[in-house]
Symmetry: D2
Subunit: 288 residues, 4 copies
């Protein structure tokens, strides 16, 4: 499936009636495994990308280039749609345009641009969220929409307004951003179904939700316009846990064979690396 087709598949989900859960992925291996168990969408969080690429926290120290390259590595081999967190677009509206250009080129299916002032300002407490003015936010959304070249590429406007400005402020923002031509609204910090309903009524475009901390039922979310719901970033934490177990065991002199139950089989590893494709290619193009 080529990138345009993946984007159309993501659009079909946005245009549908279900609220689809995504897999949190961060590299080619995680994306391929998520895909193999049935996921249609792989999401890449900014925090997870920084952890995987730089072993750094979510403080905007990863560059656009580094992020785009990791996305390209995933998009090269994975068939699931990649839907990624492009933070604030790495600067002002001009940087947003490069963000769209680079991530579209990398092969992702869609992304979100948020209306938060980033990176942290001098003296700003780490947990304090500062929003851009609605006009500046809208400028960035319009720039994003203008910069895409594949009309299938999905652009979501992400706002934390519910956290900082309450429902009324959030309504103004989602209405404004929807008018900029974005394809979806990502609601950060959403908790109450009636907020989702009101914001969907205001935006009239599909809604995307982060972690479902409140445990709402998927159909209740879908009924209020939610089409995508992000899953928590547990996979990378499972990797860390598994690696720690294995390294500890081996470091202490434990037998490799004792790990059998917790490692993928050679056959699974061969599948992961597309060994059948390469075998076929060797036969077709190099078999003298």
């Amino acid at each position: 499936m080529n990138h345009h087709e993946q984007r159309e598949r993501l659009r079909a989900i946005l245009a549908g009636r279900q609220c689809v859960a995504t897999a949190s992925v961060y590299d080619p291996i995680s994306a391929l495994i998520a895909q193999s168990v049935g996921y249609e969408i792989g999401q890449v969080g900014g925090s997870i990308a920084a952890a995987a690429i730089l072993a750094a926290p979510d403080l905007i120290v990863l560059t656009l280039t580094e992020f785009a390259e990791q996305m390209r590595r995933i998009a090269r081999v994975a068939d699931l749609c990649l839907f990624v967190d492009a933070d604030h677009g790495y600067g002002n509206a001009l940087n947003v345009m490069r963000t769209i250009e680079e991530l579209e080129h990398a092969g992702v299916s869609g992304l979100t641009i948020e209306d938060t002032a980033l990176p942290l300002a001098y003296g700003q407490p780490r947990d304090e969220i500062r929003l851009l003015s609605i006009e500046e936010g809208a400028g960035k959304m319009r720039a994003a929409v203008a910069a895409r070249t594949d009309p299938g590429f999905v652009i979501g406007a992400r706002t934390s307004a519910l956290r900082t400005e309450g429902l009324e402020g959030a309504i103004s923002r989602v209405r404004m951003y929807a008018a900029c031509g974005v394809d979806a609204i990502f609601l950060e910090g959403f908790e109450k179904l009636e907020h989702l309903e009101a914001l969907h009524d205001a935006a009239r475009i599909p809604m995307i939700l982060g972690n479902n901390r409140m445990g709402h039922k998927r159909e209740d979310l879908a009924a209020r316009g939610a089409r995508i719901q992000l899953n928590p970033h547990l996979p990378i934490a499972a990797t860390v846990h598994a690696l720690k177990e294995v390294y500890t065991h081996l470091y202490r002199g434990g037998a490799p064979d004792a790990l059998k139950a917790m490692v993928a089989s050679p056959a699974d590893m061969e599948k992961l690396v597309h060994n059948d494709d390469y075998k076929r290619w060797l036969r077709q193009y190099m078999d003298g």
Copy 2:
């Protein structure tokens, strides 16, 4: 610890009397965890690099640039010595020189160059090992030695001669390669202690061994000149296994909380991303 110091530490191991086991690592996260449990050396196999970066098998489709960049990502954050498999040096002796240049620049502590003809020739069966002539192999080793700029950088000559030419051929090769100025000999396909002894007697430089399939005792290997022994590539297979479990659970609607026992704690994740460093930097440089 800077790269030169890491290289000196690797040299100290080669100059010591123990045979040290390495951790098979492949990205920043795996290297940091291996280091956290006590490993001094992280090894990166060519096959594992191809799997992690390209999801491709061990058929020399990864480029030197791609490999070097992944090594740089690891070397940026990890304190353990990186000892990596640079295959055949990505071409002829000139390419070997660039391999040394790029991997030294990436921050690895040492690498091996093998005397195998790679990539697969037209019509060559995938499992057939073809060695370069000993003269060509020696030319590559001399080129490697000449190309390093940090004298601490460790260069190992890797040979599969024991598999294809028997002990006598292997003796000629290790003697020749040692005379080229390499710092160690990597014996591929070693099985018998007396072979190790004979080859160490011939080379008179430290020996490095791959998987210890025969289960020799570490002190028996050390007594015959082995200073480094690679561990099997189980960590990446453990990652694959853990990810499959987690994605399957979540995809089927399983509760995130049910995964607690198999994921790293938030505190562990914070440590992984050096959160304390960043906190301190925020306080020191941005606290208005």
Copy 3:
């Protein structure tokens, strides 16, 4: 113009009746200037790429990744079709497949894969050309054709057979390669019109020619199937010359103003960096 459209334009030239001369380009600036004077095709020689990126000679020390990235830099901003020299495809047929993948992704319009054994073998004189067997060459061409995902992407088979095997050998090769599905034949070392005619008769696909050392008329070449003719690599040599003049002048304390006649005007420099686009974007998306 997007990359697919550029490829279709290149195909239109191959399907036409003219023999079109290309501009030798090597970076974004050279490509943009070539385009500004009217060129439709920018060619990137392997030797020129190595010179521009690595300051290295034409000895296959540049990696595929480095080459692809430079091509991407050009393709980001230039509208002319990029037709590039991908040498031997950086290895065996599997490497050819990655070459197609990476250069197609970079946005080039077409490339050539040659049937020369590269890089230099141990002991091989630098100027000696060694061809792959015709079967191996054909395997690489079939691999190239199979690897493209945009059917518009142009693949040329480049052969030096005329130099090493004479007309008869060349005829066998171009016939074979054409049967593999390549879009054009690049004749290296061509001198006589009747050779071109015979080879075009054998291949029945468009012919591409390197430097026209013999000074044949363009219409004579076109009448015998040639559709593209490469221009000599003088532009990079002109850059070197101009830079030497300017640096020498300034180093000796010469007045900057004295250089006016040999430097582009501020207006030209603004055009080169797309200043009008950025001005418009600032106005549209950042004008508070």
Copy 4:
């Protein structure tokens, strides 16, 4: 000469009594030619880097990664000291730290971090300079100094305060930045010798000057603490001019031979690509 030695040479210039003029360079070729005519320092302006890499204007759309990679390309082959414009450090103080890390790793000898608020804010006129508060600027300078690992690496604080705050403001800033441990002050917008004198008296560290629009004598600048003076960015404009001439000539069907006087000789081109080194390496390591 390795990077540490290049940095020591740059420090020797700062510690000397002369005011040395730099060459404006932008890629490996320009740097090698500048070096060949005698320059000891190659400067890379942010505007020139954006032009060469992205064909974009000086609006902070280039990423740190892209910039660092171009610097690495130059530092791989050039022996002159690279002294580069790292703009505002690509974000806040944490980004400054990555900037130091990446550019030090790339092999540059030194850089400047400026105290300007960048990129352009929403609604900010393009030509308006906005300074960070002096405290924020100082935080960035301290972060830069803390982030270097080679003590030879040169860090300059660049300020436009003379333009926006007058002499008094500038004095406060240079005094503060010098106290942060930077190695030099880059004065943007300097015009009067007495300003230079007053600022040098305040900072008591070496001064670096941009374009010498006022035509002050080099010894007058040196007597007031200036150790480096940037030359105007004419070389890239000369390249553009030369390329336009050559492409136009060839496009119109002009004879290649007619260009002889304006292109570098084959011998010069061979020297540029280090052909003698490669010849020697072929002889030493591949001569069967």
